[in-house]
């Protein structure tokens, strides 16, 4: 496992000390979970959810049950013009 590559995918900036520690610990766990390779799973359907899937449907009308703009922005670290503010993305 390339820890830096995986951490980049997860958007985690790790210190060198962290990268080294996690590399060893995660590899130990991966070694343990490799026991699953010994099991014959030929023809077995994967389980994504334990319960039989059902859906909740309703008429397609606005219920007004969501957050107001003010509520949605109430926990934002930075706000500008009633929107979430971020560092510049486009040069």
């Amino acid at each position: 496992m390339n820890i830096r590559q995986v951490a980049a995918l997860a958007r985690l900036e790790l210190t060198d000390e962290e990268a080294e520690r996690y590399q060893g610990q995660v590899e130990q766990i991966l070694h343990y979970v490799e026991q699953l390779n010994r099991i014959d799973v030929e023809g077995i359907e994967p389980t994504a959810h334990a319960a039989a899937l059902f859906d909740v449907v309703r008429e397609d009308v606005a219920t007004g049950g969501g957050l107001t703009r003010e509520e949605a922005l109430s926990n934002a670290p930075a706000v500008a013009q009633d929107q979430f503010r971020l560092p510049k993305v486009i040069e």
């Binding site: 496992m1 820890i3 995986v6 951490a7 995918l9 997860a10 958007r11 985690l12 900036e13 790790l14 210190t15 962290e18 996690y22 610990q25 995660v26 130990q28 766990i29 991966l30 343990y32 979970v33 026991q35 699953l36 390779n37 099991i39 799973v41 077995i44 359907e45 994967p46 389980t47 994504a48 959810h49 334990a50 319960a51 899937l53 059902f54 859906d55 909740v56 309703r58 049950g65 957050l67 509520e71 949605a72 109430s74 926990n75 934002a76 670290p77 930075a78 979430f84 971020l86 560092p87 510049k88 993305v89």
Partner: protein, 475 residues
């Protein structure tokens, strides 16, 4: 009468008799928390003024009228903090809405009071992963309360709460309930809405009651359960009257003992306590049957792939954009990376890395897809067992609560202790932990829980059997 020591049933009687008011109970609880919680660390915060304001409007005739409920710090209660015991959110997030469980409990008259400590984002079995403060077992302050709902278990056991809510992804209600000597129930997947819970592993998470008695657990579950139009995995069906199960007999009930749950690694004294409890169930008329769950040995490996994969996806939302603490950076990618590295604790980062890896291109089939297939085998084990028995009985934890710090450097050994609880989440069935005595550890008596597991949506039978046992326990 110290109001903080009452059960929900006793509190309701005291209200009905006019002996107490909700305001008096809240004030007493706040005083008890101030006096005793600093040594335990079960609470992250509480807001007496807000609870007293809620109490003024409460209808005491409702099923939970005026009952204060402590809430695990990952459940949104409008106007309360909801930090998930993470530095990323602590002091930087106030819930703008009520979770469905909170809405339902309020409709039943309950008052949310106090935010309980936990392992950060519910990742852990000892509460040592709290990013805010350690939590201690009220029966021995040098030992862990269990986790991840360690705070909820500790405050109910310490009589600094009447009852609490926890969540259980791999045992996080049942294991701390066992370690602290209280009742903890994990409902069937889909029984209780997950809307408003900060998600850890969405196919495994369920919210449930943590109480001092089985009757109290039945009362809370009856109010919490039921359909939700904001959670498509929540069953759209009427909720049974769980409280009416209390006092019914269990003659003829078939209870299975999974041989794999009494195998090597189980502490001998815990085994004896659990076997004594099974004998008590038998004396009440239950029929005890040996059963096998042959894929048990693969449950921990399966769980730590499925749960970390889902967690790595769910925790992507904590990026410093819409809520939480934001690290300073010149560009957006740097902002994400720094915010997450500074905000998340060690266990959370370790699990995100593992989960990201097992989902990554080239490894998905080998790890994640294979684990989902083994999950099917584990589910089938339970389906086969429940063709011949109504319930399963087992220990909750193979070991008594350990000392704080004792295992912190070895995550795998910590994961392996979840062996008796995590299969229920993978299979989606219901389960509970009920105190079944104590074991001596270094001169102190520490609680032990009996686990009962039930069929999907079989909470009524689970509660009936647990109450029958509770009523003869210790005789």
């Amino acid at each position: 009468m110290n109001a903080a020591e009452l059960t929900i049933t006793e509190l309701r009687s005291a209200y009905a008799a006019g002996d107490l008011t909700p305001a008096e109970v809240l004030t007493t609880l706040a005083a008890e928390i101030d006096a005793r919680d600093p040594a335990i660390g079960g609470y992250l915060s509480y807001d007496l003024d807000q609870a007293l304001a809620d109490a003024e409007k409460v209808d005491l005739s409702l099923p939970l009228g005026g009952v204060p409920i402590a809430v695990k710090d990952l459940i949104n209660v409008k106007g309360h903090p909801c930090s998930c015991a993470s530095k990323l959110l602590h002091g930087h997030y106030t819930a703008p809405y009520d979770a469905t469980v909170i809405r339902k409990l309020r409709e039943a008259g309950a008052i949310p009071f106090g935010r309980t400590n936990m392992d950060e984002f519910a990742m852990g079995s000892s509460n040592e992963n709290s990013g805010i403060q350690p939590c201690r077992n009220p029966h021995d302050l040098g030992r862990i309360p269990g986790g991840s709902s360690g705070g909820s278990a500790a405050v109910v056991a310490a009589h600094t709460a009447i009852a609490a809510l926890g969540t259980d992804t791999g045992g996080s209600i049942r294991q701390p309930a066992s370690h602290c000597g209280i009742v903890g129930l994990k409902p069937t997947y889909g029984r209780v809405s997950r809307y408003g819970l900060v998600a850890f592993a969405s196919s495994l998470d369920q919210c449930g009651p943590m109480t001092r008695t089985v009757a109290d657990a039945a009362a809370l579950l009856e109010a919490m359960a039921g359909p939700c139009d904001r959670d498509s995995t929540c069953l759209d069906a009427a909720v049974p009257r769980y409280t009416e199960e209390i006092g019914k007999d269990i003659r003829g009930l078939r209870i299975g003992l999974p041989s794999e749950y009494f195998a090597a690694g189980l502490d001998a004294a815990i085994r004896t306590r659990v076997e004594d409890a099974v004998k008590a169930l038998e004396s009440l008329g239950a029929e005890i049957v040996p059963v096998s769950l042959p894929n048990t040995e693969h449950a921990v490996a399966t769980y730590y792939i499925v749960a970390t994969a889902e967690a790595s996806s769910n925790l992507a939302r904590f990026d410093g954009v819409r809520y939480g603490r934001r690290a300073q950076a010149d560009d957006l990618i740097g902002l994400y990376g720094k915010t997450r590295d500074e905000g998340f604790g060690e266990e959370v980062k370790r699990r995100i890395i593992l989960g990201t890896y097992v989902l990554s291109s080239g490894y998905y089939d080998a790890y994640y897809l294979r684990a989902q297939k083994v999950r099917t085998l584990i589910r089938r084990d339970f389906e086969a067992a429940f063709e011949t028995v109504d319930l399963l009985a087992s220990p909750v934890s193979p070991v008594p609560p350990f000392r704080l710090g004792e295992r912190h450097s070895d995550p795998l050994s910590m994961y392996l202790a979840d062996i008796y609880t995590i299969s229920a989440n993978l299979a989606g069935i219901c389960g509970l932990s009920i105190p079944c005595g104590t074991v001596p550890v270094d001169g102190r008596e520490l609680p032990v829980g009996l686990q009962l597991l039930g069929k999907p949506f079989g909470e009524a039978t689970l509660l009936r059997a647990a109450h029958a046992y509770e009523s003869v326990r210790g005789q």
